[in-house]
Symmetry: C2
Subunit: 183 residues, 2 copies
């Protein structure tokens, strides 16, 4: 799986053969087929592991009764950016190579992505009800704006840049909650 | 170019052959090679046309002396979302197939993307100086948050959805400028 992630990210899914993967590991194709039915199944496993880890962490954050909704939104944004730092390759494969999944697998992954988005939307709606958030915005657009800002960081976030993932998340959530405008 | 855009978006760049493109148009490969040296050159032309149109429109917005900085930020976000509505396929190819450009071409495109981002950052810095925007945020993070929210919409914006591109841009810019928090 690690060799697949490395090669899919560097060369692209289509340009990587099972031979490339086993060559990198010094094993035979038989070893590959012992674990995966096909290259597509390996891609599916990478996608599944990525989104399931995100969903599990999101659940833990949302269920924490000691935190405000605002704090939970911060935790989710921080998780996404931190995850991109830790798992940059998986993130890029997740967003870029999804079209190579077969129809059944794609459906499963899209359902889980939708669930992640929907969980965040429920949280934002809760904030609109309990008075933490404005209630004059469509919750779906608020959700997609938060997710877009955070997810886009896989395009630009540099773990060795001037700001840490924590500082980036802090400023980004300050913008999303308080706005860029001078009050 | 239109056939290339359609096929690259549906099948992916690697899975599309020059034969597929000329078959779609009912012409010969000779016709293709009259206009493009290679499939990669066609991809470069698609990328170039996409980013140059964005840069040109951005320049027009920024140079309009009748608008405030906030209005210009709105215009830029609206342009990006509107462009995704109008040119969804190009947008998806732009973000997804960039890795298939050769080194020289990739360098040129990345320079133009960087320029688009930098122009927006200069605008935001101007807003911080003239008192329209908070000056306690790193301008680079403010820029990437705005761009991320808008660009991510190529993943989800549905031209036939409940909200028009104008309404989506209006709510998104309201979030970015004023924040989600209840005042």
């Amino acid at each position: 799986m690690a060799a697949g992630i490395m090669l899919f990210e560097q060369k692209g899914f289509s340009e990587t053969s099972i031979q490339d993967i086993v060559d990198m590991l010094g094993v035979t194709k038989g070893t590959f087929y012992y674990y995966f039915k096909s290259k597509e199944e390996l891609l599916m496993d990478i996608h599944l592991r990525y989104i399931e880890a995100l969903l599990e962490n999101q659940k833990r954050i949302i269920e924490d009764s000691t935190k405000t909704i605002k704090e939970k939104v911060f935790e989710i944004v921080y998780m996404l950016i931190h995850n991109i730092e830790k798992q940059g390759r998986q993130a890029r494969i997740f967003f870029r190579e999804m079209k190579h999944l077969n129809e059944d697998h794609l459906k499963k992954i899209v359902e889980k992505r939708d669930l992640f988005r929907y969980n965040l939307q429920l949280l934002i709606e809760e904030g609109m009800r309990n008075g933490e958030f404005r209630d004059d915005l469509p919750p779906s657009i608020a959700t997609l704006t938060v997710l877009g800002a955070a997810n886009w960081s896989y395009q630009w976030f540099q773990p060795d840049g001037k700001l840490s993932d924590f500082e980036v998340a802090k400023h980004m959530v300050s913008i999303l909650l308080e706005g860029i405008e001078k009050k």
